[in-house]
């Protein structure tokens, strides 16, 4: 009897261990749909940044209120890694009803921007050929691993909701759907609140002013992965439900669609600018600001008015004058002084005139750092910006700025 009990115990313990060990191993080996989705996302990013010669991304984002579009963003991006060129066309309509669209083109030597609003092509030419990275792999960034861990923790037990459907040709369809019961209540409450804040524009005509009973009703997603494991198509939908102040029920759906097409067959063409409105700039490279062309044109006097209030009116009390005596692409020097009109001389403070010297910053060649030696032998710092288009200068000296009513915007003094 005694022995039998021992054997029974031993057997049951072994059975338990075996049961646990085998299923645990199977469970770890089994890749959940969520893991598969993550893997194909990583693989796609890696191939896009290193293996594909060219590809096209089509991304759109639409928000609908009871089926009516209130906000949309469309973006068509073409990448040609081989030739180091990319272009993107976008059209957006924001929640207040403003819409804008445009086009951008990049290659090793050029950057072209066009927006339908001003109908002008802004062309920047780079004197140094820049290193072109058509697509950065987001998973290669330093914080990617931590972000992934956090995402995993947040997704938590929801990961088991991703279903996988394998097709005979090796491609896969991933899909997942969460209704209000499955979304953790805390997540639901926080995201509803965040979305409410995002959409509510109390001071504007449009905008979705939900005020009561807001909740996330449903979250759905599908993704298709081709036989190489590359994500070709992602569609995500979230439905938010609530009522506005008038008691009308709203169902707001947010849809995101991403497509990757024309792998290795995308062609990026540089736009033909003949006969178009073009503004051209030259810069050293993308990290540098545009170059300062012909700085000598800024030699001379620039001034603005000293304005004060007197007897209930604004009157001109004098002028501030910046006189640039010499300037080249490296440095600038000149003199600042204030001239007061008759009857206002008592306003003049000490240090109302001084000489300044400045050197231009490396990366932003229209901006100069200044050192100022005043008559009272104090040294001040400041900076100066040359606006080539408006033909103005901005003269910022910290002790002048601390005075009330100082105006740093100077126009050329034409006699």
């Amino acid at each position: 009897m005694k022995l039998k009990k021992k054997t029974a115990m031993l057997m049951s313990f072994t059975l338990g261990t075996l049961l646990f060990a085998t299923t645990a191993l199977a469970d770890i080996a089994n890749k959940s749909g969520y893991e598969q989705l993550k893997d194909s996302l990583k693989l796609t990013a890696e191939k896009a940044s290193g293996e594909f010669d060219s590809f096209t991304l089509d991304i759109s984002f639409v928000v609908k209120d009871n089926g009516e579009i209130v906000m949309s963003q469309n973006q068509l991006e073409k990448y040609d890694r081989k030739n180091g060129a990319s272009e993107n066309t976008f059209s957006n309509e924001d929640i207040s009803g403003r819409s804008y669209s445009g086009y951008n083109y990049f290659d090793k030597n050029t950057m072209i921007g066009f927006s339908n609003g001003d109908n002008t092509y802004h062309v920047t030419e780079f004197t140094d050929e820049r290193k072109f990275n058509s697509f950065d792999n987001p998973f290669k960034q330093e914080e990617a691993e931590d972000v992934e861990k956090i995402a995993d923790a947040l997704v938590g037990s929801l990961k088991d909701y991703v279903m996988v459907n394998e097709n005979p040709d090796g491609s896969r369809e991933l899909s997942g759907s969460l209704s209000e019961v499955q979304i953790p209540p805390l997540v639901n409450a926080v995201s509803s609140f965040a979305l409410k804040q995002e959409f509510n524009r109390p001071y504007e005509q449009r905008g979705l002013n939900l005020s009561k009973d807001i909740y996330v009703k449903e979250v759905k997603g599908t993704a298709s992965v081709n036989k190489d494991g590359v994500l070709e198509n992602v569609l995500g939908t979230a439905v938010l439900s609530g009522t506005d102040a008038q008691g009308k029920a709203h169902e707001i759906s947010i849809e995101i669609l991403g497509k990757m097409t024309d792998i290795n067959s995308t062609v990026v063409t540089k736009p033909d600018l003949t006969g178009k409105n073009v503004v051209k700039e030259v810069a050293k490279s993308a990290e540098y600001g545009p170059e300062f062309s012909n700085p000598q044109k800024f030699v001379g006097k620039f001034k603005n008015d000293i304005v004060i209030e007197k007897d209930g009116k604004l009157v001109k009390a004098g002028e501030r004058i910046v006189d640039i005596t010499s300037i080249d692409s490296q440095s600038v020097s000149g003199r600042y002084h204030e001239e007061y009109a008759q009857g206002f001389e008592q306003m003049a403070s000490k240090d109302k005139e001084f000489n300044f010297e400045g050197t231009f910053e490396q990366k932003s060649s229209r901006n100069a750092r200044l050192t100022i030696n005043t008559d009272s032998s104090k040294t001040y710092n400041g900076d100066m910006f040359f606006d080539e288009y408006a033909g103005k200068i901005y003269f910022n000296v910290n002790y002048l700025l601390s005075r009330r009513g100082y105006d740093s915007n100077y126009s050329p003094a034409f006699e």
Partner: protein, 250 residues
């Protein structure tokens, strides 16, 4: 069987006579009241619905299953073993003509009855609160799912209880068992977050497995795997616990 029934009755009676079980139930119910108050506050304060009537019981479950229920399961389990060891009550229990296996099983069964009763009470009251105070979003399907979620939560809780019983048989002092249980619980929770791919190895992650039963597209294989892991855990812990209980000298 009659002997086992008598032993079980004895254990249930002991459990019933103690205040802990009552405190547990009262705390669980106050959890519902508190939860409902928070929901109402959030709703009027932020305009966010929080939960509908179908989701409220799930919200309560998600909180209780990770806080009050394991805590009081531990207390009851420890009381039933360590408490009796230290008060020399076990001798009295064992002088009865009942085998140790039956005493052990009766104790475990009494603990599971406590868990089950607590879960069912929570179910009834949270459903009631859900219907009374929240916008009606319930359907029969939703109700059935909620009942299912509560019922399946019994299993991981039982495994947890068996783990605590094992600890109670290893260590003499009830207090050290209690704190060790809490420590293990927290450590496993944290490990489950950081090593999410191995999360299914920890008992604590199974506490949330009712979520699987709520899924739109039923993840049958995942449920089966978790069920088998829990069964493996359960058998191991029960056997080990009984082995130690059997060896113990009083």
């Amino acid at each position: 069987m009659a002997v086992f029934q008598a032993a079980l009755l004895n254990e249930v009676e002991k459990l019933y006579k103690k205040k802990k079980a009552f405190v547990a139930i009262i705390l669980s119910l106050s959890m519902i009241v508190l939860g409902q108050l928070i929901i109402v506050g959030v709703r009027t304060g932020f305009g966010v619905r929080g939960v509908g009537s179908a989701e409220f019981p799930i919200l309560v479950l998600s909180v209780v299953v990770n806080t009050i229920l394991p805590l009081f399961t531990a207390l009851v389990a420890i009381d039933s073993f360590s408490g009796e060891f230290s008060h020399n009550m076990m001798r009295i229990t064992l002088t009865r003509p009942v085998s140790r296996f039956k005493v052990f099983s009766a104790k475990v069964t009494a603990i599971s009855l406590f868990i089950l009763a607590n879960l069912l009470l929570l179910l009834v009251f949270s459903e009631l609160a859900g219907f009374l105070f929240n916008a009606n979003s319930a359907s029969f399907g939703g109700f059935a799912r909620t009942v299912l979620a509560y019922l399946v939560s019994f299993l991981p809780m039982l495994v947890l209880a068996l783990g605590i019983v094992l600890l109670a048989n290893i260590f003499k002092s009830g207090i050290s068992v209690f704190f060790l249980s809490i420590l293990f619980f927290l450590v496993f929770k944290v490990l489950g977050v950081f090593f999410s791919s191995y999360a299914s190895l920890f008992i604590t992650t199974h506490l949330d497995w009712y979520n699987l039963w709520l899924a739109h597209s039923f993840p049958g294989w995942k449920i089966l795997r978790q069920l088998l892991i829990m069964a493996g855990y359960g058998i191991m812990l029960f056997t080990a616990g009984f082995y130690l209980f059997d060896k113990k000298e009083f």
